[in-house]
């Protein structure tokens, strides 16, 4: 195994341990900090998966803003005494989670993913001479030419930017709308009840 693979497995293991810590620990602050750790390690994994730009975005947003936000929230909603942090029914929840994991595990292993040229050729039964295209992930038209499957490709910021403003322009606009709505919603909801925005004060006598 080479360095890339080793790093991936190490990062993955660390992320999982951190996640477990997030959901199992009894100190809320530890949860928050472990979350930050987990998400930052996720950024590292993005890097290993050749999504550079995304790794940057991840660390900026989660490591930067989200963690701060969460700590503030924890600070503002601090209960008086030491609370119990887990339900009485947590074994059932664990069971549910485990069952779902088992299903997903089975599904991941059982599906024949078309990750190589030979797989694709076999799947579509391509005859030599005909320009064969495989449709990755099933059903979208306009598939990638089989010959180029499996070749790694690093999507740089300019590529992503171009795609965001051309192919994915509409979702981009919608996402910005979502952010606007979330912003305004948070403002309205978090304002104290009955607190006037700007009430004209009576003139002082």
């Amino acid at each position: 195994m080479d360095l890339g693979q080793f790093l991936f497995y190490a990062a993955a293991a660390a992320t999982l341990i951190a996640s477990l810590g997030v959901v199992l620990t009894r100190h809320v602050v530890y949860s928050a900090l472990l979350l930050v750790l987990a998400l930052s390690l996720t950024g590292l994994i993005y890097l290993l998966l050749l999504a550079d730009f995304l790794a940057l975005v991840q660390i900026l947003i989660y490591g930067g803003t989200v963690s701060v936000l969460l700590v503030f929230a924890l600070m503002l909603t601090r209960p008086q005494e030491r609370p119990v942090l887990t339900h009485r029914g947590w074994p059932l929840a664990a069971l549910g989670a485990v069952v779902l994991f088992a299903i997903l595990l089975y599904q991941s292993l059982a599906t024949p993913w078309l990750t190589s040229v030979s797989d694709a050729r076999a799947a579509i039964g391509a005859t030599p001479g005909v320009a064969a295209t495989a449709t990755p992930l099933g059903r979208s038209p306009g598939g990638v030419p089989v010959a180029r499957l499996g070749e790694p490709f690093r999507a740089g910021p300019s590529d992503i930017g171009t795609a965001l403003f051309s192919t994915w322009a509409v979702p981009f606009e919608i996402a910005s709308l979502v952010l606007l709505v979330a912003l305004m919603g948070a403002l309205v909801v978090a304002r104290a009840a009955g607190e006037p925005a700007a009430e004209p004060r009576p003139p002082a006598p």
């Binding site: 029914g89 929840a93 549910g96 989670a97 779902l100 299903i103 997903l104 059982a110």
Partner: protein, 716 residues
Amino acid sequence: MDYAWLIPALCAGAFFFNIIVSRQTGRLKHGLSAAVSIAAILAGFALFIVVFAGATEQLGEASASTESAQHLLFDRVPWFQVGSYPFFGTMVLDWVSIMMLGVVTFLSALIQIYSIGYMHGDNRFWWFFAVMSLFAAAMCTLVLSYNFLLLYMAWELVGLCSYLLIGFWYHERDNAEAAKKAFVTTRVGDVGFFIGIAILFVQTGTFQMDEIFRRVQLGSLSPGIVTAAGILIFLGAMGKSGQFPLHVWLPDAMAGPTPVSALLHSATMVAAGVYLIARAYPLFAASPITLGVVATIGTITLIFAATIALTQRDIKKILAYSTVSQLGYMVMALGVGAYTAGLFHLFTHAFFKALLFLGAGSVIHSLEPVLHGTGKSPNDIFWMGGLRKRMPVTFWTFLIAALSLAGIFPFAGFWSKDAILGGALGAGAWLPFIIGLITAFLTAFYMFRAIFLAFFGEPRWPAALGQAAAAGHAVPELVAPGVLATAATEPAAAGAMDVQTREPGEDVPAHVPAGPQSRPEQTAAEEHHAHQTLPHESPWVMALPLVLICVLAIGAGWVGIPGLFNPFAEAIHFGSPAEEAINPVAAGLGLLAGLLGIGLAAIMYWKPLLSPAAVANSLPGAYRWLYNKYYFDEAYQWLIDHVVLAISALMATFDRKVVNDGMVDHTGQAPVGLGARLRYLETGRVYTYAFAFVIGIVVAGAILAGIFPSITANFW
């Protein structure tokens, strides 16, 4: 030929007109309703003559070997369609239906004219005529129809008219009960009738009689089906024609006005049963078992009813039982295969029985004012006597009719009754023959008992008895001395005649429409009559029909003289016409039986050489049984009380508990209960909802992962 349907149509039109006219108040509506109704029926009769003349031309006197189908003319009118089944209103004109049409229109016309006098002053006069018109329409439709469903509709309509007319004076509880009894009893028969029709429909897919008869004659129906259908249809005839054991309604039907008894319950409606057997004869003839049943029931009926008639005091009841007995004769004749004889007797019997009823009505009508206030019924023959001198027209017509009924030469009844007896003998049915002969004797006896008691001798109504005692005349030994003293209610002491009755000495309950409810215009006339407490002859509106029908009571038989002049037999027959001469044995014995009956009645009631009281005392048990009609009504009542009502109570409990409580209430309660239990799912906690999500996700994931291949196979 095409006009035959107009006859019922005109009468139906008169009915509807009368209903509408009833919106008017005042006396105008009475006269108008009678006028319209009678006009309609007379027009019907005129049309009948036209049809008859036309039929004579078209059908011809073609005798012989041709099948009866050749004698039919019919018309098929498409009426409605249910699913794939087209229903036709089919009309048939053969000699049987023409004969019935003639009888119905002729008698209806004369009896409606008679009713002008009889029902005079009744404040529901118009309704009487309306229903009489409806009855005429329904009866004509019945005899014209060649489609079982159409016949059944007309059948039911006729039953309805009977109910309405029997219960015409429904303010008296007994009348309403009698009407109900009539309807329910005939209903029992009708159920069988309808099941029979349904069986035929299921087997053949049609209600058309021609189609059904064709299949029966081809043999394409199984014998069991033919027999079953025949017996069930006969059940309908039993109900309508008062055969044993469904006879119980006919005597009670005498609660209706006498014209109703004359028209419906002697001549036409009760004859509908016999007509049905004749019309469906191809079905009956195909099954010897059915014919055997028919003959047996007919024979039982004829003697059974005659024995009851021997002891009755109410003149209308005597005539009612006589009708039942004569219907038994007709049914028996059809059962032994004497088709022509049975229908011939129906024909003659219609006339002389109607005449007898009308005469009885005349007598009752004249006795009402005489017996008013005495609590005695004007129907009771014991309070009559000596009417011969006071009501000559009535007397002579009644006598002729009675002679006809007794089968005395040369009156109409002689020919028809002897045709039946001869037919039975000829068919080898010796038991019905002997029973018929004995009953002929009984018939003559009871009929002349009534005549001698009513028309001969000295008057016996209370006023007259008082006068006779005062004048020193010998009081006839019919009534116990105790009766003379009291004029109000009946004494407990038994009359010499009624030794051991159920309630000794109880008189016939008065079915008189006494009292102001039905006859408001009578009070002035009653007071006037109270001064003349003597019975007198009826007005000419009532007497004229008596005379006209009498002519036929004499002469109706002369179209059936075998060997000499017998157009009846040539026209009406089943299969090949029976060319028969008079059977001298049958004729002679029949005549002898009749004369013996008259003679015995004479020596018991006219010149009392043999005391009736002695005869009754010597057979007390038999007397009691006969007087109480063999306790049939009591038996039926017990059956109803213990069986029918018990089943009804069971059904009611089922309806209450299962249907109402179980199905309705519990179905309503179920959502409420379910809701009350399900609401605990809403815990308001995020954890619960999240867990529910997870369960859903797990299941969906499992299905998508192909863990349940059977389900996914259905999906993709």
